[in-house]
């Protein structure tokens, strides 16, 4: 069985903060003051006039409540949300919507008010949903991928956003997730557990790709990708049927499966059985196998899934289950500056804050 987090000697503290709207995504805003911590929420309220909104909330660590500081209404529901920092410690929020537009919001470092907003409208960028948006470290460039099979690179040029279409498969391939690996390379994921490695120096198509057909009849979609800054040749992907796997560019035909179908025989159990919505490397968890820290070893990562599990998975170790909710956990974020704090959004209109000792 997976190790249950509450049975650990130092269990994490769990605080539930119910909301009155549906939470599409939640992210920590990079901390710019020692006292306040801010969280960005993408909300949806079907009964109001402007149903979708992006709000910055301040987190009161004593009372554990969230209070709204500023809000902005995108033209349609947010489908992907990322945060980063521009050079000069200016916090930045990037959001992609279901109608295909991309929006960039800059926040004020002092009072978390939204200062400026740039966008690329829907007709130009994507036809249909923006599946994923990713911001480069340092906030210079963005990659946006969509169901229509387009891969766009967007950058801030003065006071507007300019974009160029890096690849257009004309709908023959749909991409569902994306992540920057280095200033010139990024990874995208799609249907059939496929991963594509792109290099800006080799335009016109993929540089290398993986077609995940290790499980004969079961196939799925890659929902989320993460790349560790110290292991840029490996990318970690999570997707359908509880599958979490790592693809190392040096051994392209042998992906390492951390959790999911096909793992059960070795003795470790899969962390969850349904869609893994998000996967992030977890800097807080110390690797159990400290002897073997070769670069081919996959570092511990946290996942959240449709069947309500938030767990830390590691190669060849039992997954540690931190939360087991009766409803789906749709997104989570680990605070960069305090990796012991994790904030998640639940299907049933609430937010959970997890603090690990």
């Amino acid at each position: 069985m997976a190790v249950i987090g509450t049975a650990l000697p130092d269990p994490p503290r769990i605080h539930r903060i119910p909301q009155s709207k549906y939470v599409d995504a939640v992210r920590w805003l990079p901390q710019f003051s020692a006292f306040d911590r801010f969280v960005v929420l993408a909300l949806f309220d079907s009964s109001s006039d402007s149903p979708s909104s992006i709000e910055i909330h301040s987190l009161d660590t004593q009372a554990v409540t969230l209070s709204s500081q500023s809000t902005w209404a995108p033209p349609s529901r947010v489908s992907s949300l990322k945060t980063s920092q521009l050079p000069g410690r200016k916090p930045l929020i990037a959001a992609g919507t279901v109608s295909g537009s991309l929006h960039l919001l800059l926040a004020n470092s002092v009072d978390a008010s939204l200062e400026s907003e740039f966008s690329v409208s829907e007709e130009e960028l994507h036809v249909g949903r923006v599946s994923c948006v990713d911001v480069m470290e340092g906030g210079g460039e963005f990659v946006s991928v969509g169901e229509d099979g387009r891969v766009n690179l967007v950058s801030v040029a003065g006071s507007e956003l300019s974009f160029r279409r890096f690849f257009d498969s004309q709908g023959l391939v749909s991409y569902t997730s994306a992540k920057w690996a280095s200033p010139a390379e990024f990874v995208t994921g799609g249907y059939g557990f496929s991963l594509q490695w792109w290099d800006q120096r080799k335009p016109g198509g993929v540089a290398s790709q993986l077609k995940g057909n290790w499980a004969q009849r079961m196939s799925g979609i890659v929902q989320s990708i993460d790349i560790h800054p110290s292991r840029k040749h490996t990318c970690l992907a999570g997707g359908s049927l509880g599958t979490v796997f790592a693809w190392d560019l040096r051994w392209q035909q042998q992906p390492i499966i951390l959790s999911g179908i096909g793992v059960g025989e070795d003795g470790t159990h899969p962390a969850c059985e349904s869609e893994v919505w998000e996967v992030q490397y977890d800097r807080h968890t110390k690797s159990t196998n400290t002897g073997n820290i070769s670069s081919s070893r996959v570092l511990p990562a946290m996942i959240c899934s449709e069947d309500g599990i938030l767990a830390v998975v590691e190669q060849d170790a039992e997954p540690i289950e931190l939360l087991a909710e009766p409803c789906a956990i749709n997104s989570f974020d680990i605070d960069r500056e305090n990796p012991s704090d994790v904030i998640c959004s639940l299907e049933w209109e609430s937010i959970v804050l997890l603090t690990r000792p």
Binding site: S46, K211, S274, E349
Partner: protein, 630 residues
């Protein structure tokens, strides 16, 4: 109650409901012989009731102030809500088997918590207290105000002893400068206060801060009760009353003693609402539990003495419960509190008595063969399904309905919009949990066709593969090869490669990249032959034809189309292009094809009916000529 609050209650009640259902299922499967309602069953129901009760409290409960206001008569408590009041009263009567022996005291507590809700038009003791509290600030001499004594008697009548004692201690005779002159008066007030605080109560325990002496067993209680009454009578007959100067104090205190002795007139005058009179009866006249029938007749009597103008829904519910009328209770819940209440409270009602259980769980012909319990669950599930945020909870309720639940679940899942990929994935997950494979595959087929038609060919193919829709996949494979056969530009070919990758892995008919490359080369060379450009175009074409037919990755369904396309090659006038072995190979392939036609999963290619015949003829002719040549 706002929508968000209702949703929060709905979300929170899913787990307790599911837990109770699974416990019932395991209890039924374990004890097929005896009734599933053995001793521990009511404990499960009680746990369920407490879990749901905790959801109904307002989350914003007020924190008590650090310094207590000496003049604050009523403690600030959380705003009561009607739903919680209704749930509490049902829990008291149906679920809480342990406290059946001290039911009247439970009702006293209930009234204390919810008195404010009982009437908005008529006065209640609660409203009296609130308005008196406002006046209290302005009063100089409290004991002169007649309202003070009215409120005191009223609070005493419903058993709010802590409030009474607190108010008594506000009496002017306690003030330090007064104590000298008003010694007797003060003594009398204090005596009454002490008597009140020592009132015997038939209950196991009291909350901190409330007054009275608890007795668990009836004999102990009766003894203490007799003693207490004797003390009150003694005080009533004492000589000190004559020496009490303050008229109102004397009258007020003696009235309070009358209330404690159970004087019906005093009780009637002191209370406003019939429920308060009812509770007062239980406290001072008959503190023992009696059967529901006599409780009901007592209630009727009180209602006659204190008629109501408008009846509150809580009152109607309580009357239904005391009247032991399950149908009335259900009707009241449904009318006044909504489908959520009915769907969840039925569990409490069913555990109340065997008759109630039979009534609720037997199948009724006029309801379409389902039970009342199932009917209300289905109604609630419909309410949940109508909201985009709560439809995902509905399956839990639907699957507990044995007769019509699964059918409605399938309809619910099929109605969800598959355009949104998140919702599609959630629907498929629900199908997986409840093993609804056919529903899942239908929905995936619809999604696949939808994506294909809107230009997202990759995702369309993926969903069709997940649905194992061989028919459409074959049609797509056919379309694909037609397309590749026609346009040969490298640009578009590269784009199709991605799609072939996806198709190639699972569909047996697609053949894969290798075949596609060879097929493209073959088509290119055929085109060159048709254009008549180069002389060894024909030779090239033959070579690619042979390598195509030899290659194991060429799907069988394409053999005949390829051969049919190359008819021109085969019937070349000048000389046979294929040698004997090659022609034999092709003939063997044709033979294999006609054998394969007999198999059930063979897919016919879209060719004119004489295609096979003409190919065979052409090959035979070729063979003849080739043999002649050699």
């Amino acid at each position: 109650m706002s929508d968000a609050q209702f949703r929060r209650i709905a979300y929170g009640s899913v787990s307790p409901f599911a837990l109770l259902q699974s416990r019932r299922n395991s209890a039924v499967s374990l004890s097929k012989i005896s009734s599933p309602y053995h001793v521990e069953w009511w404990e499960y129901v009680m746990e369920y009731s407490k879990d749901i009760n905790s959801l109904l409290s307002d989350p914003k409960s007020l924190t008590s102030p650090a310094i207590e206001d000496p003049k604050a008569v009523l403690q600030k408590a959380e705003e009561p809500i009607c739903l919680k009041a209704a749930w509490d009263v049902m829990e008291i009567f149906y679920a809480d088997k342990q406290s059946q022996s001290w039911l009247p005291e439970r009702l006293v507590d209930w009234l204390a918590a919810y008195n404010g809700l009982l009437s908005s038009t008529q006065a209640t003791i609660h409203s009296q207290l609130i308005s008196f509290q406002k006046e209290l600030v302005t009063l100089q001499v409290i004991e002169d105000s007649p309202k003070y004594w009215e409120v005191l008697s009223a609070a005493l009548a419903v058993g709010w002893l802590d409030v009474v004692v607190k108010m008594l201690r506000l009496h002017g005779s306690y003030q330090l400068d007064q104590i000298g002159n008003r010694e007797t008066e003060n003594g009398l007030v204090e005596a009454v206060a002490v008597l009140i605080s020592k009132m015997p109560r038939l209950r196991p325990e009291l909350q901190a801060g409330t007054l009275g002496e608890c007795h668990r067993a009836k004999p102990d209680f009766i003894k203490a009760w007799e003693k207490w009454r004797a003390h009150i009578t003694k005080l009533d007959c004492s000589a000190y009353w004559v020496r009490c100067d303050h008229d109102q104090t004397r009258k007020g205190l003696r009235n309070m003693l009358q209330i404690m002795l159970g004087n019906t007139n005093s009780l009637c005058t002191a209370t406003c609402h019939w429920m308060e009179l009812y509770i007062a009866h239980f406290l001072y006249i008959r503190p023992f539990t009696v059967g529901l029938e006599s409780m009901y007749s007592l209630a009727r009597k009180c209602m006659q003495l204190k008629p109501m103008t408008i009846s509150h829904r809580l009152i109607q519910l309580l009357l239904g419960i005391i009247g032991d009328n399950t149908e009335v209770v259900l009707a009241e819940c449904s009318r006044a509190f909504g489908p959520w209440m009915v769907a969840h409270a039925i569990e409490l009602l069913a555990s109340g008595s065997d008759q109630a259980e039979t009534l609720l769980r037997e199948e009724h012909y006029n309801l379409g063969g389902i039970s009342i319990e199932e009917l209300h669950r289905l109604v609630y599930a419909q309410v949940l399904s109508s909201d985009a945020l709560t439809w995902q909870i509905a399956p839990i309720y639907l699957t507990s309905c044995i007769k019509q639940g699964m059918g409605l679940l399938e309809i619910l899942l099929s109605k969800q919009p598959v355009q949104d990929v998140q919702i599609l994935l959630k629907v498929i997950e629900i199908c997986r949990l409840y093993e609804l494979d056919s529903v899942s595959s239908n929905i995936m087929k619809i999604a696949g066709v939808y994506h294909w038609k809107h230009g997202r060919k990759g995702s369309g193919v993926f969903w069709l593969q997940q649905a194992r829709d061989e028919v459409r996949l074959n049609r797509i494979a056919q379309q694909l090869f037609d397309f590749v056969g026609q346009s040969i530009s490298d640009e578009s070919f590269k784009q199709w490669e991605g799609l072939i990758e996806l198709l190639g892995s699972e569909s047996k008919t697609a053949g894969g990249l290798e075949f596609l490359h060879k097929y493209r080369d073959f088509k290119k060379s055929l085109k060159q032959v048709n254009d008549g450009k180069t002389t060894d175009a024909a030779q090239q074409a033959v070579e690619s034809l042979i390598s195509l037919m030899k290659n194991p990755s060429t799907p069988q369904q394409f053999w005949l189309p390829i051969l049919y396309d190359s008819l021109k090659l085969l019937s070349c006038q000048e000389r046979p292009l294929l040698n004997v072995s090659e022609t034999n190979l092709l003939l063997n392939k044709l033979q294999e094809l006609s054998m394969a036609k007999l198999r059930p999963d063979f897919i016919e290619a879209d060719l004119p009916p004489q295609a096979l015949g003409s190919v065979r003829l052409a090959l035979a002719t070729n063979l003849g000529r080739a043999i002649v040549e050699e």
